[in-house]
Amino acid sequence: MPHIQSGDLVARFYALFEGWGIPWIVPRLIVMLVVVSIIILFISVVAMFLIWWERKISAHIQARFGPMRVGGWHGWAQSIADGVKLLLKEDIIPTRADRPVFILAPMVVFAAALAAYVVIPFGPGLIVEDLNIGILYVIAISSLAVVGIIMAGWSSNNKYAALGALRSAAQAVSYEVPLVISLIGPVLLAGSLSTTKIVEAQRYLWFIVLQPLAFLTYFTCAVAETNRLPFDIPEAESELVAGFHVEYSGMRFAIFFLAEYANMFTVCAIATTVFLGGWRGPLLPPWLWFLLKTFFLLFVMMWLRWTLARVRVDQLMDVAWKVLLPLAFANLGITGLLVWAFS
């Protein structure tokens, strides 16, 4: 049942429609549509804010101002202007591209990015649907995005895109393993896969205290999964120009961009949920705590991006398989032993 609004309100809404004799499906669809619209709006606003914020952060790290013009105050409307610009751009599908797959790819990527928001707990009860396999669901749905990226890269019929897609796939599959295994420690402590239950299990102690190694592993993998520097080899512009979306233009490109930032928010939100106690915090309202923590992690991601050089593709694989995976396994073993010892 949807919890994004207060249960009473929804129930009264349903009752209202029932009273009018309208089939039960109609009010439910309306509620779902409202929910999904809110989420899409949220994603758009967050992505636009993140793009602007990232440009500001990078600019100030580099002793410049960044966008200053559009909208007046520190160029706050820059992302909106960019969005409008992309909306006005010509849509180019290369003649040599594989048309159906080319068109399908952004849909897959965006749908996967959007669907992951179903289980993000913004606050107690403020969750679209508390699935009982929450964490596993996010992981599974994010693997869809990889498929979308391969589709995009392959269908472009471009060498850079193909290489970028292959790299992306290899990278995503490599980092998926330590990511999943690092999440198993907290799941073990919480005894549930549901995101809400995991947050509730952190009533007394955030899991980052108990699982610092797992947090580091997860965060590194999350950075890699979202193709951010220092792990942005799928779109390394100095080698592959733009990677898998090199042939995409206009709104299609914008969709990839949007999905990328939406994914960034997702992975950071999951990190907040699993390791940083989710919405828990004193004084401020829960949803604000949640956003604060998530945006702090997003800030760290940007900070990393504007500090580090890009790793090479072989080093990337080494980091996944030879550093993170052993670490994740070690963490799992230690956690298992300690839990057994203390329970």
């Binding site: 100030h60 790290i61 002793a63 101002f65 200053m68 900070w303 990393l304 504007w306 500090t307």
Partner: protein, 175 residues
Amino acid sequence: MWRYLRELWQGFWSIILSMQITLRYLFTRAVTVQYPEEKRQLPVRALTRHVLTVDLDSKELKCTACDMCARICPANCIHLEGEGKGKARRPKWFVIDHNLCMYCNLCVEVCPFDAISMYTGMYELGGFSRTNLVYDMETMHADGFYPTIMTPRSPAGAGVKAPPPAGAGKQTRKA
């Protein structure tokens, strides 16, 4: 095993150090200039658009159409024709094609009368056609540039801190 862990730690630590320095920079002031609103202060010697100087007493162009500048110009961008004889010789027409000019200052150096100068502080050259960048005698006439800093006789002697030429470009258009 220990080596592996030590390398891991060192790598981690080096990343932390890098991040420390970037975090510090996050809170430093920006050094860039918001160009159309703010303008850099040009040094006195900045080589910008050409100007044909006038003699302050006689209010006449100093140029005697001796063709020295046109001949020294490596890019062949100066063209002129003189009229009159001896002391009265003055240019009939004088054209500098700024599409070709490479701001080498050779014409200024070679001019025996300091009749041409590049120290106008006008660097915002631009036009919608190439011919917009071809300047003739009237556009280059120094009258059009008052009141700005005019051709320092000896640029070497001038200090670094020059009066800002910003805004100079706005009032130079002859009505």
